[in-house]
């Protein structure tokens, strides 16, 4: 990859296809072996403490249930502001992530905190709606005050090779976002191969996404280590090609502090510690926060407490 800017690779379907299929392949065995080796890094004492606080500050604290209510969202926002009521030194999280109709509630609860409100949009999680509906969904969330939009790509179009359609949709959603940041969910669990993950990542970055995100959290597998590795390699290569810096958000299935710290190690050793900031790396999670808080308490007090010593939400 040269450092020269890319030519207009999305000018037509054939050019875009040729570009995406010309990216170096991903060897499955090798990628998984690399991710497994990095998972053996032993993060202890001071570096563990640092990593736990960094991970907390990167969380997009998420509730995406049909049963969500304003009360549930307000509780989550309170937790986001003050994750550990007993310890004010615990950092606040990066964002709260909700469905579009809960944005107003979240905005009201978080005004002045610096915590971002993220909304899933574009017929999340399946993405099966017309472009007009997806754009209306996006504009509605932005109008309600969302700082960030988490969109889903049309996996059906991607898997049938209609890359330009996927590209055009992302461009249109980005435009509908206005000042809001756009995270593009690839739903890697439905893309089947690492080659596809790499292509979808490049497609999202070329189309103007500010972040690429692994998953909706509604599909298994979600944010596996090799998928994250491939996406980190993509943002690294995209930066050296275009100069643009893109963020990465693994989401789904990250439940323990160990999982989170392994992901920070992947970031550190793949793209470098420049990405170790909530501006460029987020972790989409709900239960993870409490495990991080318990580990944090353990490092402070020297013993484990238990699930009743952290708040449910």
């Amino acid at each position: 990859m040269t450092t020269a800017a890319l030519p207009d690779v999305a000018r037509d379907d054939a050019t875009l296809r040729a570009f995406l299929h010309g990216l170096p392949g991903v060897d499955k065995v090798g990628a998984e072996a690399r991710a497994a080796t990095l998972a053996t890094r032993s993060i202890k004492t001071t570096s563990k403490r640092w990593a736990i606080d960094m991970a907390i500050s990167m969380i997009d604290l998420t509730t995406l249930e049909g049963a969500d209510t304003a009360g549930k969202v307000r509780n989550l926002c309170a937790k986001a502001r003050r994750p550990d009521p007993a310890d004010a030194s615990a950092p606040q999280v990066a964002a709260v992530c909700v469905y579009g109709d809960m944005v107003q509630t979240a905005v009201a609860a978080l005004t002045g905190t610096g915590i971002q409100v993220a909304a899933v949009a574009t017929a999340f999680p399946s993405g099966r709606a017309s472009l007009a509906v997806k754009l209306a969904d996006t504009k509605d969330a932005v109008a309600a005050g969302a700082d960030e939009i988490d969109m889903v790509i049309d996996r059906g179009a991607f898997l049938s090779g209609r890359y330009l359609q996927v590209y055009d949709e992302i461009v249109a959603v980005k435009q509908a976002c206005g000042p809001a940041h756009l995270k593009v969910i690839l739903e890697t669990g439905e893309l089947a191969t690492y080659d596809n993950v790499r292509r979808a990542a490049w497609l999202a970055m070329l189309a103007g996404g500010d972040f690429i995100k692994t998953s909706t959290g509604k599909i298994n597998p979600a944010a596996t280590a090799p998928v994250l590795l491939v996406m980190l390699e993509a943002v690294r290569d995209f930066r050296s090609t275009t100069g643009r810096v893109i963020g990465v958000k693994p989401a789904g299935g990250i439940r323990t502090s160990k999982d989170a710290i392994k992901q920070l190690v992947l970031v550190n050793e793949t793209v470098g510690d420049e990405w170790l900031t909530p501006r460029l790396f987020r972790i989409g999670a709900s239960t993870l926060l409490n495990d991080l808080l318990q580990q944090r308490q353990k490092l402070t007090t020297g013993h484990y407490s238990g699930p009743d010593y952290v708040t449910l939400d």
């Binding site: 991903v26 060897d27 065995v29 090798g30 550190n268 510690d273």
Partner: protein, 485 residues
């Protein structure tokens, strides 16, 4: 490896040294017990990362070697030779399980004595050693299916001499097939790394292995020479340098000793322009910087297609910047110590010769510890085929980069070496992998991977890399007499 302060600096994470008891001194393991050498000499084994003396180890002279060979002969004609194959298998399985049970102890001892990172001894050396015993244990009562006739017989007493780069793993490559086939052994570990072999001797005691089935004589070259030249040794197995291999071949010429030699290498790791680049870079790193490059099948020559040269080299340099060199006992260390001062001096001599030949030398920013033997990961570009660093085995963390334009040229350059142990091919094109594998004169050809070892797969060389195979059905043949004829 960069020395400037990083946001996410990993705190030290040392494995506990207290996991293993190192005795102040060790005798020879002969006839099932530790004995003093006949003439009482000894040598020190040190930790190459700190130069600390770990233990005094007995140096076996000719009389000691003779005693060990006689013990092995008695076991062969006695209990071991008479034992039913299924019973023999149980002992080999037991050794496999004991290696697993005492894996942490073995890993710590290997890292202390050898200098390799604990991550490698823990995740590669010890589990692979156990795998070799498990695999070969299964052969013991199935020798009729080895393709050597209905009832192949063991050869007798095997004299085995192993190197310092994978002390326990090379021991398992030697002892496991020998025992499974019904032989008895006298093994000489390398003089710089005798400790895991001596701990393995304790495992033999713990397994109640009949006395004399496994004997371990420690010492340097003279001990090894006495062993391979001993008239009552029926089979010689050696892994080490090509020079010593040639000397062994000369020494046993005219005798009826059987021999397998696994010698040096100068493997080509060949990267085509359609390779999965990120994984190829990992494969290059794993090929030459695994175990500090102390690997006979190391991918010490990178052959990269000119059309992706810049991309591959940029990625490689960036990746080398993330390697962590230092205390081998730290669980996050990627590059440990060079095994000995003598080896360090050889690496220095050859790298100096590379510079003198006009190749360009590069290493990532890297602080070397003051104590111990260390050499930074080093890449030479602009290396001519005629340069010493493209021809001679360096056996250190030094990569020579050469380029090619066409597949034919890649094959020609890869084969243009007196060695032929291994090679790697990186391409997404399956047909090219098969074509390359048929053209490369190397005992092992890895496709889109490197330095993968499995007991079911035969390993061995062409040309000056030696002869005979270890592992798989082919490896069993080295320890059996065919009953076909």
């Amino acid at each position: 490896m960069t020395s400037e302060r990083r946001a996410f600096a990993y705190a030290p994470a040392p494995e506990s040294r207290a996991l293993v008891d190192i005795k102040p001194s060790y005798g020879l393991f002969v006839g099932g017990e530790f004995v003093d050498p006949a003439d009482g000499t000894s040598f020190k084994t040190i930790s190459p990362s700190s130069e600390e003396v770990l233990a005094e180890v007995a140096e076996a002279g000719p009389a000691d070697v003779d005693r060990a060979v006689r013990a092995a002969r008695r076991a062969f004609t006695g209990p071991w030779g008479r034992m039913r194959a299924a019973e023999r298998a149980k002992y080999v399985f037991r050794l496999a399980r004991l290696i697993q049970e005492r894996a942490r102890e073995l890993a710590v001892l290997e890292t202390l004595d050898n200098g390799k990172p604990i991550r490698e001894s823990r995740d590669v050396d010890v589990p692979t050693a156990a795998a070799h015993f498990f695999y070969h244990a299964g052969w013991a009562d199935k020798l009729a299916y080895a393709g050597l006739g209905p009832d192949p017989k063991p050869i007798g007493v095997a004299g085995q001499v192993i190197p310092w780069n994978f002390p326990l793993l090379m021991l398992s490559w030697k002892i496991a097939p020998a025992l499974a086939a019904g032989n008895t052994v006298v093994l000489k570990p390398a003089e710089t790394t005798p400790l895991t072999a001596l701990l393995f001797a304790e495992l033999c005691q713990q397994a109640d292995l009949p006395p004399g089935v496994v004997n371990i004589v420690t010492g340097a070259g003279a001990t090894g020479q006495a062993l391979v030249e001993h008239p009552d040794v029926d089979k010689v197995a050696f892994t080490g340098s090509t020079d010593v291999g040639k000397a062994i071949a000369r020494a046993i010429a005219g005798t009826d000793k059987r021999v397998t030699l696994e010698l040096g290498g100068k493997a080509a790791n060949i990267v085509f322009d359609d390779a999965p680049i990120d994984q190829a870079v990992e494969g290059i790193v794993n090929g030459i910087f695994f175990n500090q490059g102390h690997v006979c099948c190391a991918g010490s020559r990178l052959l990269v297609q000119e059309s992706v040269y810049d991309e591959v080299l940029d990625s490689l340099r960036r990746r080398l910047g993330t390697l962590r060199l230092g205390d081998p006992m730290d669980k996050n260390t990627d590059i440990g110590a060079i095994n000995s001062l003598a080896q360090l001096q050889r690496i220095r001599e050859l790298t100096d010769a590379g510079e003198a030949d006009g190749a360009e030398r590069w290493s990532p920013p890297c602080e070397l510890p003051e104590q111990g033997f260390w050499f930074p990961p080093t890449v030479f570009t602009g290396v001519g085929q005629s340069s010493r660093i493209a021809q001679e085995e360096i056996f250190g963390p030094v990569l020579s980069v050469l380029t090619f334009r066409t597949p034919d040229e890649a094959v020609a350059k890869a084969n243009n070496t007196p060695y032929g142990l291994s090679a790697g091919v990186w391409t997404e094109k399956g047909s090219r992998i098969l074509w390359m594998a048929s053209k490369l004169r190397a005992g092992v050809v890895w496709a889109n991977t490197f330095n993968r070892f499995d007991p079911t797969s035969p390993f061995g060389g062409y040309k000056e890399s030696g002869f005979g195979r270890e592992g798989g059905r082919q490896g069993m043949a080295a320890y059996l007499r065919s009953t076909d004829a």
